[in-house]
């Protein structure tokens, strides 16, 4: 039997109920008067105005900046790693890949608390070992912006690595050889052949990482102390402590808009079929 439109029904229903409806409701709330809990037909843009005037710029900046920086860092780490893993395909590479994948199955907060324990000053694992073994006392980066950045990279690297691995697998080795034979140096091969051919993997990995990073707040909460407030934390506070649902909804809508502005142009540039068909 050929798959017809009927086969798309379950996912269509799921998307309508689980995705479109909530967004619609959030969009509606974002147009209600501040600190109200009813959905009425009296619309106002007051929340959006507040979003731009009442100091929400900082959280937005940190979320987007951190997401961009983390994505870039993960990309820079994942590319050479994927190249090595692909070139040495076999037992060792399989084990290495499994080790990279393993942390995904451990709760993110557990891993972040582990990292926090590792970095803790004085009695922390790293500082403690340094003092016990070498007699040196060192400070800590815990509760700094750098710790948040480190945690973000640590958590999100696997989400970058696997798509990039798929991307690297899209590069036929003879194309690289042909380019070398025609006089291309290693950087020229990277720019002219490898990156364009691996592009679908790179874009998917970057989007995945970027979107996850924008939604991340555990890193900032566990490793950053009060060094950074990210936008998801700000939104959470609006909904919970402040009991200002319309404001939280407006911030959410803005976040979705920014994310969409990044994701859709990037998706339009890659041929996803190449990644699936090979």
């Amino acid at each position: 039997m050929r798959p017809g439109p009927l086969f798309a029904l379950p996912v269509a229903v799921f998307l309508a109920v689980g995705f479109a409806m909530p967004i619609l409701i959030v969009a509606w709330y974002s147009l209600m008067a501040p600190r109200t809990f009813d959905l009425t037909t009296v619309f106002t843009l007051a929340n959006y105005r507040a979003a731009f005037t009442e100091g929400y710029g900082q959280p937005f900046f940190w979320s987007l900046g951190l997401a961009a920086l983390t994505t870039l860092t993960c990309l820079l780490i994942a590319w050479p790693t994927a190249k090595v893993l692909h070139a040495h395909a076999g037992r060792v590479a399989t084990i290495a890949t499994a080790l990279v994948a393993l942390p995904i199955f451990v709760s993110e907060s557990v891993r972040l608390f582990g990292l926090s324990l590792f970095l803790m000053p004085g009695g922390g694992i790293f500082a403690g070992s340094m003092r016990a073994l070498f007699g040196v006392s060192i400070g800590t980066i815990l509760n700094t912006k750098f710790a948040v950045y480190l945690g973000m990279v640590y958590i999100h690297l696997p989400f970058m690595l696997f798509p990039v691995l798929l991307g690297v697998a899209l590069i036929p080795p003879d194309r690289v050889e042909a380019a070398r034979d025609l006089g291309a140096g290693r950087w020229q091969v990277l720019r002219e052949i490898e990156l364009p051919l691996a592009l679908p993997g790179l874009v998917i990995g970057s989007l995945l990482t970027f979107v996850l990073c924008i939604g991340a707040n555990a890193e900032a909460a566990i490793l950053g102390g009060r060094a950074i407030t990210v936008v998801t934390t700000a939104i959470e506070q609006r909904f919970n402590y402040a009991q200002d649902w319309p404001m939280g909804a407006a911030l959410t809508m803005l976040m979705i808009a920014v994310t969409a502005a990044v994701v859709f142009p990037a998706l339009a540039r890659v041929d996803l079929n190449r990644l699936i068909r090979r």
């Binding site: 042909a178 070398r180 034979d181 025609l182 006089g183 291309a184 140096g185 020229q188 002219e192 051919l197």
Partner: protein, 341 residues
């Protein structure tokens, strides 16, 4: 202009080149001098190591043993992009994410040639390989197999290398286009004085184009010589069979047991080309029945049922013989060639 004097170093000098993949000896102790400006063709059965040899010459693979000199200079450690050579890959290895023009002009771009000059040169090369100029901006993925082969050809020519390697570059082309490009390639090679190393499965191609032919078998170069020598004086039965259909008769005790006739040697094998067999001719004669006839244009090939087994003869198309006819066939021992193994 390369130095082509008699005492000039060879364009490429291979000495004891070997390459093993695990237990497979893909290349086994190959020594050879390829002369400056020569059209050298490598032929051999599938898996005999032709591609492996070319990859080592181009710097895409390293030999496990042996040395390689380019005009007297050891180039063992030189990466492919530093060698003045270019290759047309068996797999073509076109850049599918680029247009035809970008493929052709790739080597020029790597050298920092400007966009305008690249376009001019690419269009010239499209003319040369007989591709329409408006293919320049077309994605290579939209080209047919034969067109892709010509793009690959043009791409290698664009870098204007001193030595060009071809790994079965014309195999996907129709007969007429192949003939045209064979002549074109040979002309180009003559005109530019470049050294060409060429792999083909087509004997006709090898015979027509080459200055010298090297025959490979199981990673070894078993015979090297000009086309006439390889065809007329094969070193052994393998080379003889490889260079076309032949009749082979064992020699024992100075005689040909198959025909009970005297042989020109004590032992070994006698190679008799199909065109050496003719009705009522020669000094060794035998009775034959024509079983099959294949028309090859101006000539016909026929299978003969004889006391010595099935033999192959090739006659002018004007022959009156038809399938089922019985005739007395023969060959002149002077037209045959004897090999030891």
């Amino acid at each position: 202009m390369p130095d082509t004097g008699a005492d000039a170093p060879p364009a490429l000098s291979l000495s004891g080149l070997s390459r093993s993949f695990g237990d497979t000896r893909a290349l086994d102790d190959v020594s050879l001098d390829i002369r400056e400006g020569e059209f050298f063709t490598v032929v051999g059965p599938s898996g005999s190591g032709k591609t492996t040899l070319l990859r080592i010459l181009a710097g895409l693979d390293r030999p496990t043993a042996g040395t390689l000199h380019l005009r007297g200079r050891d180039i063992a450690g030189l990466p492919p992009n530093k060698r003045p050579t270019a290759m047309v890959f068996q797999s073509l290895a076109l850049f599918d994410h680029r247009s035809v023009g970008e493929n052709v002009a790739f080597a020029l771009k790597m050298r920092g040639v400007g966009a305008e000059a690249r376009r001019t040169k690419a269009l010239e090369l499209l003319d040369l390989v007989r591709l329409p100029r408006d293919y320049h901006d077309r994605p290579v993925t939209q080209c047919s197999g034969g067109e892709r082969q010509r793009v690959a050809l043009a791409r290698a020519l664009a870098s204007d290398p001193e030595i060009l390697f071809f790994d079965e570059p014309l195999s996907a082309l129709d007969y007429r286009l192949r003939k045209t490009l064979e002549v074109e390639l040979r002309d180009l090679q003559k005109r530019t004085g470049r050294t060409f190393v060429y792999i083909t499965h087509s004997l006709e191609e090898a015979m027509v184009m080459s200055d010298r032919i090297g025959i490979m078998r199981d990673g070894r170069l078993v015979q090297v010589g000009d086309p006439a020598t390889i065809y007329g004086r094969p070193r052994d039965r393998f080379v003889a069979r490889f260079m076309g259909e032949v009749n082979v008769f064992e020699i024992a005790g100075g005689r040909l047991p198959a025909f009970d006739a005297p042989a020109p040697a004590q032992d070994g094998w006698l190679i008799v080309r199909p065109e050496a067999l003719a009705p009522d001719a020669g000094d060794v004669q035998f009775d034959a029945t024509v079983t099959d006839i294949y028309r090859l244009g101006s000539r016909v090939q026929m299978h003969l049922d004889t006391a010595a087994g099935t033999l192959i003869a090739e006659l002018p198309a004007s022959t009156r013989l038809a399938e089922g006819d019985a005739a007395r066939f023969g060959f002149a021992v002077a037209d045959t060639h004897r090999v030891a193994e």
